[in-house]
Amino acid sequence: MSKKMTLHLRVWRQPNARTPGAFVTYTVKDVSPDMSLLELLDVLNEQLIKQGELPVEFDSDCREGICGTCGFLVNGVAHGPKRGRTACQQYVRDFKDGETVTLEPFRAKAFPVIKDLVVDRSAFDRIIAAGGYISVNTGSAPDANSIPIPKDIAEQAFDAAACIGCGACVAACPNASASLFVSAKIAHLALLPQGQPERIRRVLRMVEQMDREGFGDCSNHGECEAVCPKSISIKTIALMRREYLRALWSR
């Protein structure tokens, strides 16, 4: 049995979007190092409820790093210290016994805080609606093997398609830019033969929607790539720019 640990959690508490928030520090004692960070929050919340206080609200769903629901800044880094993982895949063992861990919501004008660590990321859905798809009505598809796709192209498309839409890229970006999210979808579809017919319209509309949502511009800090739980490369951002220039050219 591994040694129990004590952690202090400095958590952003904000009752709702209209009321200003502040940090409150809580202590959770004698927890197992094998506990996940979100399970630690569960334990803290049980403690708070028993004390008659309001629990810390945070989004989480699959708790295995694929749904993209969870996410906040852990000690200043989106999702936390361990690379290539979401907040739910961080473990107590990744921190020092007695450490004070700061948990702060993703901050961006396009991601308004709803409550505590919960933010509104619906801007991402609106960007996808603007063009993040291939227009193919149900029933009209040709045989799946009618268009061969070279394995390495399919793999590259997959690398981009692995995006879980968690928003860590925006949160970590000094400019609060959504370029990695947007470019991942553009790259996924632009690399595939099925995505060709709509590529001009897609990149123009998605970039326009991204700008309209109030995200910042990409200054190539590359911080997004470093915090992305799926390690999506900023080469997708370069690809998005090529797509965009090409679209302007052929418009």
């Binding site: 009752p15 927890v31 197992s32 094998d34 569960d42 049980e46 708070l48 409820i49 028993k50 008659g52 206080e53 309001l54 629990p55 609200e57 769903d61 699959c62 708790r63 295995e64 790093g65 749904c67 993209g68 629901t69 290539g84 993982r85 895949q89 473990y91 709803i114 409550k115 990321r121 619906s122 991402f124 859905d125 996808i128 609606a129 603007a130 063009g131 993040g132 798809y133 291939i134 193919v136 149900t138 029933g139 598809a141 040709p142 045989d143 799946a144 093997n145 796709i149 070279p150 394995k151 399919a154 793999e155 498309a157 997959f158 398609a161 879980i164 839409g165 996924h188 099925q194 995505g195």
Partner: protein
């Protein structure tokens, strides 16, 4: 006793191969101009919901899509790892629609409708076409064509996959198709909404009541039909591979409004999950079945052998799946493999600190095919395992144990996917339809998408064309009554102000269900479970403490509502398991087994779908049955030896 309702499956007669085609030809159509006049409420945006919303909107219907997540893309279909079956026979290994049908119906231990299962197998090929056209990046071979692999319960390679993230990629495909319709103005999206009631007017499903999870407001929505795609109820067990927000509330409220609940005791245990490590644990994580393609399952031959796995010599290892089921080996179906794992652990040969785990060992494959092969096939799964356990599965064998993963039971639906409430359609895991008593791997994605893309678009039109739907608004008294009831119910939950949290009570319920309604069941245990659940339910309603109020984002209140429903559904699961005096598929009654410990079906008494009606008293549901007729296959003893 009231006269049992006659359950008409509406499954068409005639030759199996042409049932669906003939049925489609007989379904009535709605004209393009009239489609615009109908509004369909789709609840849930997983594979079934998103594909249904997209396809219905493409046809011209007005669709309102609801989900509890902050974005429809997060529905739990996203977590499906291994793959999706389709009878494409691209591998030239003898696959066919018939074989997929046969494997599926046999895999389900002959407790599913032949017509449904055949249709599912038939549509499987269209699904792959549709998804590839949407840009789903399936795995490919060097020639650029699609790759497949094998999965449990099959001797052919018919499982299409996208690394270990097949569900994610398929869902994002369906989600993007739906978002295209959002852009076109045909789908209106309502995220962070939880359906808390079904509104039935003149016996027809005409609307829903949702709670806005941000403001707490109760919102009524009117529609001409309601399509439930809200997934399964495995979270009743607390520890399961489900997402934290997966719940049975939508189907349960519909059940209480009159929809029959079919085969609630058919719950699937998945053999390869990461074992429980502590009592704080919030969920279990699945390791895809695809791993059993290349991993070998074993335990030490000796009891209580505590040596590290690599120090146990080959001849002191028991590859028990290969030993017991030589022809399927490690790819034995889930129910069979899970029970075998439980059996060796019960014998005291389990490994790990708790003794409730077995090894899933890749060292032979790593030796034969190299580490790069493993990385390419299962890289993300290995990574995930390492994240959770802190152990490197490239070096030491994985430790795995069965966990609740899927529920075959669900709301009863006919061949048109309509429940016993006219206008209430149920798709995907939320219905009971295609998997019988056990689902084969890579079939859940297939069913969700078949229902959403290719079945509901046809059958819902027939319902509209045959039905007179008087105009109603949310001013109708049924909406007002429903709103009042839901409000009262929430107020009641909040007013208890006892000592225990939702989490504690949920965990207790989970323990009862896992112990008595889990992998192995018996009459006495089930009776104990029923008593314990009743007691716990009473405690729940007297000793629950929910912080905060209803007019705010309050996840504890959300969870409380869901657990309240699990407390009732859990009892129904036990009642159903108790009544089914046979073993079939995942439902294993210890009293009914063959001498070598395999499930012993009783086709004379139980070759039927058990559909339960809510009578107003949770503890006294009424049983209706839909007899299952097998015209094209003969139910035999399921053998994987």
């Amino acid at each position: 006793m009231a006269v049992a309702m006659k359950l008409d499956s509406k499954a068409p007669g005639g030759p199996l191969e042409s049932k669906w085609t003939r049925h489609k030809n007989q379904l009535k159509l709605v004209s393009p101009t009239n489609k615009r006049k109908y509004t369909i409420l789709v609840v849930g945006t997983g594979l079934a919901g998103a594909s249904a919303a997209a396809s219905l909107a493409e046809l011209g219907y007005n669709v309102k899509a609801f989900c509890i997540q902050d974005s429809p893309r997060r529905a739990h279909s996203i977590a499906a790892q291994g793959g999706i079956n389709a009878a494409k026979n691209y591998k030239n290994d003898g696959d066919s629609v018939w074989r997929l049908f046969y494997d599926t119906i046999k895999g389900g231990d002959y407790r599913a409708r032949e017509a449904n299962v055949y249709r599912l197998a038939e549509l499987s090929v269209n699904i792959i076409d549709q998804c590839v056209a949407q840009g789903v990046p399936f795995a490919r071979e060097y020639g650029g064509l699609l790759d497949t692999r094998s999965f449990g319960g099959a001797l052919v390679e018919r499982t299409f996959y996208a690394r270990g993230q097949t569900g994610q990629q398929l869902l994002l495909g369906a989600y993007s198709a739906m978002m295209r319709q959002v852009d076109a103005g045909r789908v209106a999206l309502y995220p962070r909404r939880e359906m808390l009631d079904l509104v039935v007017i003149n016996g027809q499903a005409r609307g829903i009541v949702c709670r806005n999870l941000i403001t707490g407001e109760l919102e009524p929505y009117v529609g001409d039909a309601v399509v439930l795609c809200t997934g399964g109820y495995g979270n009743a067990y607390f520890l399961a591979t489900y997402a934290k927000n997966s719940n049975a509330t939508a189907i349960w409220r519909c059940h209480k409004r009159g929809a029959l609940f079919a085969n609630p005791c058919f719950t699937q245990i998945h053999p390869t999950c990461i074992p429980v490590t502590g009592d704080y644990q919030s969920k279990l994580t699945l390791m895809s079945e695809s791993l059993r393609n290349d991993g070998r399952v074993w335990v030490p031959k000796k009891k209580g052998d505590t040596r590290p796995p690599n120090e146990i010599p080959e001849d002191e290892r028991d590859y028990f799946l290969e030993r017991k089921y030589p022809s399927y080996g490690n790819l034995a179906p889930r129910d069979i493999a899970s029970r075998a794992v439980k059996a060796v652990c019960d014998e005291g040969r389990g490994v790990g600190a708790s003794g409730r785990a077995v090894y899933l060992d890749f060292s032979d494959t790593i030796r034969e095919k190299g580490i790069d092969y493993i990385k390419e096939q299962y890289g993300n799964l290995f990574e995930m395992y390492q994240h959770i356990t802190g152990e490197d599965p490239y070096k030491v064998p994985m430790r795995i144990y069965p966990a609740i993963h899927y529920t075959m039971g669900g709301l009863w639906v006919d061949y048109n996917l309509m429940s016993t409430i006219p206008g209430l359609f149920v798709l995907g895991e939320a219905n009971f339809s295609d998997h019988g008593a056990n689902r084969l791997g890579a079939s859940a994605l297939m069913q969700g998408l078949a229902d959403g893309y290719f079945i509901i678009p046809y059958t819902i039109g027939d319902y509209f064309a045959n039905t007179t739907l008087p105009k109603v608004t949310t001013d109708h008294s049924a909406f007002k009554d429903s709103l009042a009831e839901v409000h009262q119910w929430l107020t009641k939950l909040l007013s208890i102000q006892g000592e225990k949290t939702v989490l504690e009570l949920h965990r207790e319920l989970g323990m009862i269900l896992w112990d008595y309604v889990g992998m192995a069941r018996n009459a006495q245990g089930l009776q104990t479970a029923i008593e314990k659940i009743r007691k716990l339910r009473e405690e729940f309603w007297n000793n629950l403490r929910i912080p905060g109020d209803a007019n705010m984002l309050n996840k504890n209140l959300e969870m409380a509502g869901r657990v309240a429903d699990f407390m009732e559904l859990g009892e129904l699961m036990a009642i159903d398991a108790l009544h089914r005096e046979e073993s079939c598929g995942a439902h294993f009654r210890e009293e009914y087994q063959t001498p070598d410990g395999e499930a012993l079906r009783n086709d004379e008494r139980f070759c039927y779908v058990a559909a339960w009606e809510y009578t107003g008293d949770i503890s006294k549901p009424e049983l209706h049955t839909e007899p299952l007729q097998f015209e094209f296959v003969t139910p035999t003893v399921r053998s994987y030896k």
